[in-house]
């Protein structure tokens, strides 16, 4: 049976314009949706910028600068202790709400204020001071070792999320406490006797309820003994 020779398939020529349109289309697509992007390793920070390079946090330097540039000026214009103590004697919970600040969830409430008063007792690690203008209002002024976060959290000038982490934030506390011991407590320990008149500013934790002793214990960040 004779077989008809098959005709060779007819090759359709592509329109010439396709050869130009397709690459242009591809180029546009690649421009709009690039196959990869070059990003810095740490978003938001140029790694070649020395200012953006990670630097170990130095709590000593930070605290020294903070002490001079922020804490001391704030202490000079802090509110008076006297109205706080009046409210505290009336209702500790209401006084804390009105005058204090709380840190974190369920944390203690702190006050930061200034006052003047007369020393009524010199005890181990503290002075008892009767506050001017509020008869019977006695506070303790700490003169012994300073621990904890009362200065850091009580002054209201430092926020946990400004520090790189909790360890660094805690290091600030330790350093501020050291500065109190180095720069303020010597003034209060050197020859202060009963009857001496003081002006001071400091931070204190609000008591949940009042006991028989001083209304609260203040950690001084500024103190001066009047002649």
């Amino acid at each position: 049976m004779p077989v008809e020779p098959s005709l060779p398939a007819r090759r359709t020529a592509s329109p010439r314009w396709l050869a130009f349109v397709l690459p242009v289309l591809a180029a546009v697509l690649l421009l709009v949706f690039p196959p990869f992007r070059v990003l810095p390793l740490k978003p938001g920070a140029a790694i070649l910028d020395p200012a953006a390079a990670p630097v170990a946090f130095d709590a000593v330097t930070f605290s020294a600068v903070f002490w001079a540039a922020q804490l001391q000026p704030a202490a000079a214009v802090a509110p008076e202790w006297q109205p706080i103590l009046v409210d505290l004697r009336r209702d500790p919970v209401a006084a804390a709400k009105q005058h204090g600040r709380q840190v974190g969830l369920g944390g203690p409430v702190y006050f930061f204020a200034q006052a003047s008063g007369r020393v009524t007792a010199v005890e181990r690690g503290r002075l008892l001071v009767a506050i001017d203008g509020e008869e019977g209002a006695t506070v303790a002024l700490r003169t012994g070792p300073v621990f904890g976060n009362t200065v850091r959290d009580g002054c209201g000038l430092l926020e946990v999320n400004r520090a790189p982490g909790l360890q660094e934030f805690n290091a600030i506390s330790a350093e501020l406490n050291r500065l109190v011991e180095e720069r303020v407590l010597p003034v209060l320990k050197a020859g202060v006797v009963v009857g001496a008149h003081l002006t001071f500013a400091g931070c204190a934790e609000a008591p949940e309820k009042l006991g028989d002793g001083p209304l609260l214990t203040i950690i001084p960040v500024q103190a001066e003994v009047k002649p």
Binding site: A26, P34, N161
Partner: protein
């Protein structure tokens, strides 16, 4: 000539098209097993916890799960068994399964950051509970006990109880956990001010009760005259107490813990353990679940770190505490 060039041109275009399609996938970091284009299912919340071999963490995980459920989510607990590799697998699973959020208690402050970043890259927000990761741009928020303050208070009570002279031992927790060091530094910020108090041994027992028993038994061989043991958590405090009991020294050596676990709070009431510090695992877990809920409903304004207050538990205050918190 013209027709001969067309297949070459089409092949080149096909290759470019493949590259383009690959580039259109949402970016996922290397190693992520998240399926491309699969949006997280907002109604599922994962609770990834460092261990369930400690009742305190069981309370943390179960409270987080229950609060998430109460807020209308399916919630599943994943136990990392204190193993970073297992934790990493859990994150793989959570990402590929399309969970909406992770409530996270890490195994390693540094090592766990990569897991959190992978989840973030897959669009899954992570909320840390109790244990910190050392990064400010990975988790949405970190709800953490104020361990340092707690151990400052504990350190002051330690000096009151032990006195200003004597020998003591410190049992550290997991060294890669920042809680270990925040507690240790808070304690030493007080105790180191009293030069008469000598720390004769400081060793990690990895927050584990049986390891604490073994470690203290060994230390007692070389330091039989210690007056106190400071433990970085309550599980180790119970292990230390067992070691002292076995050595006939339980009434002579004061034990201090940290956590507020139920068995230790009872032991404080009975005078076996001198003091502990109450953390509030339920508060942290509930807050994390509520933050996740807010996030999934569109909220974006969260503090990076939220310190949660802790309280000293001693014989004078113990009546106020129980069931991993303050009694109502």
């Amino acid at each position: 000539m013209k027709t001969a060039r067309l297949p070459l041109l089409l092949s080149g275009l096909s290759l470019l098209a493949v590259l383009w399609l690959a580039a259109c996938k949402p970016s996922a970091p290397a190693g992520s097993t998240a399926p491309a284009g699969k949006a997280p299912v907002a109604k599922r919340v994962a609770v990834i916890v460092s261990t369930l071999n400690n009742p305190w963490f069981v309370v943390l995980a179960e409270t987080a799960r229950d609060r998430a459920k109460a807020l209308g989510y399916e919630a599943t607990i994943f136990d990392s068994q204190n193993d970073p590799a297992k934790e990493s697998q859990h994150f793989d699973n959570v990402i590929s399964s399309g969970y909406g959020a992770v409530l996270f208690n890490c195994t390693d402050a540094k090592g766990s950051i990569a897991n959190v970043r992978r989840a973030k890259a897959a669009g899954i927000p992570v909320f840390c509970m109790d244990r910190e990761i050392e990064a400010n741009d990975a988790a949405v928020s970190q709800i953490l006990s104020d361990n340092y303050s707690g151990c400052v208070a504990l350190g002051q009570y330690f000096v009151e109880q032990v006195g200003e002279t004597g020998q003591y031992v410190e049992l550290l927790g997991i060294v890669a956990d920042t809680n270990t060091w925040n507690r240790s530094k808070g304690f030493h910020s007080v105790v180191d001010r009293f030069p008469g108090l000598k720390m004769v041994a400081q060793q990690s027992a990895e927050f584990d009760r049986s390891k604490a028993l073994e470690v203290l038994e060994s230390i007692l061989q070389s330091h039989p005259d210690i007056g106190a043991v400071f433990c970085g958590n309550d599980a180790m405090a119970m292990g230390a107490y067992q070691a002292l009991l076995a050595a006939g020294k339980a009434t002579k050596v004061k034990v201090f813990g940290f956590d507020g676990a139920d068995d230790v709070v009872r032991s404080v009431a009975e005078g076996k353990i001198t003091a502990t510090v109450m953390q509030f695992p339920k508060t942290m877990a509930k807050t994390a679940a509520e933050y996740a809920d807010k996030y999934l409903k569109g909220g974006r304004d969260f503090p990076q770190r939220v310190p949660v207050a802790v309280e000293l538990v001693n014989r004078e205050t113990v009546a106020k505490f129980g069931d991993y918190g303050r009694k109502n």
